[in-house]
């Protein structure tokens, strides 16, 4: 697992208070990890802060799963 994926996972565990084993790439923040819409806003902010990236609102709306987040951040970092 990449360093980015590791860090994303850690942030999700911390913010949503879920077991690490549940934070699989396919896990949906809302459907599988018990987040509500405000939680997801906070999560995106935490990603922005941790990875020093800007995630515009229209992009943030498309980040529904752990993998979505990892992919988006990896793309930004590669650019």
């Amino acid at each position: 697992m990449s360093e980015i994926a590791d860090k994303v996972k850690k942030i999700v565990v911390e913010h949503l208070g879920v077991e690490e084993s549940k934070v699989t790439p396919e896990a949906s923040f809302i459907d599988d990890l018990g987040a509500d819409s405000l939680d997801t806003v906070e999560l995106v902010m935490a990603f922005e802060e941790a990875f020093n990236v800007e995630i515009p609102e229209d992009a943030a709306e498309k980040i529904a799963t752990v993998k979505d987040a990892i992919d988006y951040i990896e793309k930004q970092k590669a650019a």
Partner: protein, 428 residues
């Protein structure tokens, strides 16, 4: 529907069937009450921040520690992941509310019952520390980093909101905000909602967590806090004493479960007592100082007695607002005027001498102390009343609790803005 005995308040009687509190004397009604009656103090040097640059260094803070010792372990009451979405006043409110709901045994599953159960938990100030922290984030140019939970963490009515979600209470969802009169207004207004038929059960009270640098500094600037007892914190809150020099702030929450009498009886609920009277008034005088002779307080008390159909001679105990400020003697004057020739028969104490002034939670906690005074036939003490600034026929229960015959008790709360509220309770 039942006619309230001797009362013109409404058609339905309202009783208290559950109680919960967290105060500087600890967590839990029986724990706090036991310590209060024993004459213990919950006041100490401020621990949550360094107060040394401020004039006041003392406050009443909730002791942290094992639940078994009557102290607060927040993780056992509010899930850690939810804690950072709430200001501390919400944490404390949920602790007291959970105790009260469990104590009442009223956790309805049926939709109809849930819709007949409402919430009315206020706060004098709301999420002050949360607002302070968020202001710094914005000031540092990080406005876009502001937590999405900032607003719901700071809003005063959010103990009501969280509590309703936790237990599925779908009735009136309300909150009182009247500074230091909040707790009594919440309970009195909630009782009226039951009397008028808007709900059968209401969870009501107040929560406050303003023992933070901004809160203490603000009340220091208003010259409202005790500053002469920084080295002897337990002596700082001294209602009616000639050396008093301001109030001592406390944090905490007090919540009661109010219930329509027949509803409570039908389910065999434990009943602490009845809310028989409630009176309100405004000073229309000054933003922080009471009017001469505390005539606003006098009118609030008089209105409570009228609504309860009670004469002063029937009242065995008064829990005074008694904040340890100059206003103490004005309240005393108003109570003397109210009781007239019966003044020598009543006991009046200020429990703020032991726990400090819990602002928006004070009236709720003190209403419960009044109910417990009736249950246990005891008047809790006014600590530190060494030399009263003036004599009175009214026994102010200096230093030690007194065994007393108490069938009816009155509790006073007055707030900045010239708002006054008095509530009258009786054993059932």
């Amino acid at each position: 529907m039942l006619q309230s005995a001797g009362s013109d308040l409404g058609r339905r009687r309202v009783v208290v069937t559950g109680m919960g509190m967290v105060t500087p004397l600890g967590v839990g009604v029986e724990n706090v009450w036991g310590r209060l009656v024993a004459g213990e103090s919950g006041i100490g040097r401020i621990r949550s921040f360094d107060p040394s640059e401020l004039a006041a260094h003392v406050a009443g803070e909730v002791p942290e520690g094992p639940t078994a010792e009557g102290k607060l372990t927040l993780d056992e009451w509010v899930a850690p992941k939810d804690q950072r979405k709430m200001d501390r006043f919400i944490h404390l409110g949920l602790v007291a509310a959970t105790e009260a709901v469990l104590d009442s045994g009223w956790m309805p599953e049926a939709e109809e019952d849930r819709c007949a159960t409402g919430v009315m938990i206020g706060s004098g100030i709301g999420g002050l520390q949360t607002i302070y922290d968020a202001s710094i984030t914005v000031h540092e140019g990080r406005a876009k980093r502001l937590s999405p939970f900032f607003i719901p963490s700071a809003l005063t009515n959010l103990v009501s909101g969280h509590l309703s979600i936790k237990y599925g209470f779908k009735g009136p969802n309300h909150s009182a905000v009247t500074a230091c009169a909040t707790g009594v207004h919440a309970i009195g207004d909630a009782a009226r909602l039951i009397m008028l038929g808007d709900a059968d059960v209401m969870i009501a009270g107040g929560a406050e967590a303003a023992v933070c640098k901004l809160g203490i500094a603000g009340f220091c600037s208003a010259r409202a806090l005790a500053t002469s007892f920084n080295e002897t914190p337990e002596r700082a809150s001294r209602p009616w004493d000639k050396d008093r020099d301001g109030f001592v702030m406390g944090e905490g929450a007090g919540i009661v479960v109010l219930e329509e009498y027949e509803h409570a009886k039908a389910r065999g609920a434990k009943i602490y007592g009845e809310i028989i009277g409630y009176g309100m008034s405004g000073d229309a005088h000054h933003i922080t100082a009471p009017a001469e002779g505390h005539e606003g307080a006098f009118r609030a008390m008089k209105a409570a007695l009228k609504s309860g159909g009670v004469t002063p001679g029937e009242i065995g105990y008064v829990n005074a607002h008694g904040t340890s400020t100059m206003a103490d003697d004005l309240e005393l004057e108003a109570v003397e005027r109210l009781f007239g020739d019966d003044a020598s028969k009543v006991a009046m104490s200020s429990t703020k001498s032991a726990i400090g002034h819990l602002l928006g939670a004070a009236g709720a906690v003190e209403t419960m102390f009044s109910l417990l005074a009736i249950r246990d036939q005891v008047a809790p003490p006014t600590l530190n009343l060494d030399n009263p600034s003036r004599e009175s026929a009214i026994d102010r229960v200096a230093h030690e609790s007194q065994a007393r015959k108490v069938n009816v008790a009155l509790s006073n709360s007055f707030g900045f803005g010239g708002t006054n509220a008095s509530i009258l309770v009786r054993g059932v």
